[in-house]
């Protein structure tokens, strides 16, 4: 589903070279719930930008659903984002002038879905997160938790194959944060692939798989020992078995 191969993201700040991502190889499979954890400046945000097709790597390959997206142009990336990715942001990132329904409709608008279907799909998504009754309200009339639900609904509306959640609980109190995470787990249980980006171990623990990033490198991966890239990739069948086994174990750990 997601496959990063030797991905580098290097910024040239005058004389200095900043390696925001320094050779990351990573594979995330369908129906996984993975958390990417790291301190600020660790490169996790850059990593998310690349996975989220908001940015392209300086070098290396990124396959999303077996499609190489690492050299795509702006508009091609926009289309990929629109069709395969759903974003949940820390600041909800709802458009204040639009009401809840219109916000949720947005990805479908850009997909070119007809108005009737669009409204139906948006309402369905809002029903899923349990705030269909607020659909004519403006985001500013909702609480933080409700706004985050709207943004989840928006992420779900386009029926994307991957949901990317960037610090989804960062702006919420503990209780609502927990609800949001439980909801994400539920979505994962229903078959959605979810990637959480966080600095908070408490949040990351809700995921079946934890990938720790530091200084642009993966230093720990509970679903997989630190990948060794190309050489290892040759033995695909064996690796697949290992991977499938681990999430289950992690899932049980969560339950305890």
């Amino acid at each position: 589903m997601i496959r990063l191969e030797e991905v580098y993201k290097i910024y040239n700040m005058g004389e200095n070279e900043v390696r925001a991502i320094d050779g990351v190889s990573l594979e995330i499979r369908e129906n996984e719930m993975a958390a990417i954890i790291g301190q600020s400046g660790s490169g996790k945000s850059t990593c998310m930008n690349i996975i989220g097709c908001l940015d392209v790597p300086t070098s290396g390959k990124y396959y999303l659903n077996d499609q190489d997206v690492s050299h795509m142009k702006d508009d091609e990336l926009a289309e990929v984002r629109n069709k395969t990715l759903g974003f949940i942001f820390q600041q909800y990132n709802l458009i204040h002038k639009l009401n809840v329904l219109e916000n949720v409709e947005l990805p479908l608008v850009y997909k070119g879905v007809h108005e009737k279907e669009r409204i139906e799909a948006a309402r369905e998504a809002l029903r899923k997160v349990g705030i269909e009754d607020k659909m004519n309200n403006l985001p500013s009339q909702l609480s933080g938790g409700q706004q985050q639900r709207v943004s989840i609904a928006r992420a779900l509306a386009g029926n994307p194959s991957i949901i990317l959640a960037d610090e989804p609980t960062g702006a919420l109190d503990t209780k609502t944060g927990k609800e949001v995470l439980e909801f994400l787990q539920k979505l994962n249980g229903e078959g959605n692939t979810i990637i959480l980006i966080t600095h908070d171990m408490g949040v990351a623990e809700k995921a079946k798989r934890i990938i720790r990033i530091s200084d642009g490198k993966i230093v720990e991966d509970s679903g997989h020992s630190v990948p060794k890239t190309e050489h290892e990739r040759s033995g695909i069948p064996g690796k697949g078995n290992v991977k499938r086994a681990v999430p289950k174990a992690a899932g049980m750990g969560d339950a305890v």
Partner: protein, 391 residues
Amino acid sequence: MNFKQSFRLAIKSLKTSKMRSFLTMLGIIIGVASVIILVSLMNGLSQDMTSSFESMGTNTLTVNVMGRGTNRTLSVEEVETLVEENPEYLDQYSPRVTASVTAKYDVNSVSTTVIGVNEFYDDMQSVAVTEGRFIQYIDTLRRLKVCVIGAYEAQELFEGADPIGETVKLNGSSYKVVGLLEETADSEEGSDDDVIYVPYTAATRLADNARISSYYLTAVDTDEIETSKTVIENMMYSVFEDENAYRVTSMSEMIEAVNEMTSSMALVLVGIAGISLVVGGIGIMNIMLVSVTERTREIGIRKSLGAKRKDIMRQFIIEAATTSSAGGIIGIIFGIGAAYAAGVIMDMTVVPSWNAVAIAFSVSVGIGIVFGYFPANKAAKMNPIDALRYD
């Protein structure tokens, strides 16, 4: 695709910040309104002038003799012969001798214009007599001192009393009033009602000039007026042998000349008003640039959700065009209203041109698109990551 939504959004943001929208649109409003006002007034003016020329008859040809150092004049007999010899082109003729006189009756007096004509003139120029009669052949033949007075003179000199049969003094000599003209312009001073007709033979004395230097002729067919004109010109040339000694003009030429003059005047004025449209466009561009910066985050969100460059572009251009066309509509309404108000105040005819309205509206939409392009392009090119991080 999302045209409807962009449009709705644009209307929404116009409504939410009314003051700002109004100020943004002000340049367009002023520009469109002044174009509409100017075009309406100029149209009215040219319509007035055209109709006053047309009332003199579009088949009329005027001959003016300037002389140019020769003593040769054009006699009435020569003109008469010309008309008689060319019945397929020329219909009637009348000499036209004008003089400024003071007309007196009892204690009342007015300064006015006397026009010396023959018996055909009323027919040629559609001059109608309500009472009495017009100048007749016998009057000109015998140099009778009779006159036909306009409604203004009847009102000023006779104050409502019946003027027929009375005697007025024109520059001291007595003239018998034989006819009263129909009122055509509210009996105003200087209008078509302010006139006295006398036999041309008598008018040459009033004018202190025995020469008749101006003739009116009518063409048989308005469509062949150019041929009729050539016939006159040929005769004139054979008499004077100098093209500069006379001038033959047709009324339709004069109407054309007037129309040309008013429309080129209108063009200059509209051009000046058009400058304010451009200024208005720059105002819109300015506000759109501010708006793009203010909404950087929104642009980032939209892009992250899959908006392509053209989607963002379209959104901002539609917004700019909506703002400017709203300004255009307000300007059109205001302009038409102001044109009528100005028409009443300045006593002018106002003819709003629907062409001008349509053009003003499309120009204002066009200005929105043109001046919205640059800000929209700026928005479309934003990098989604930076835009999302923008506070």
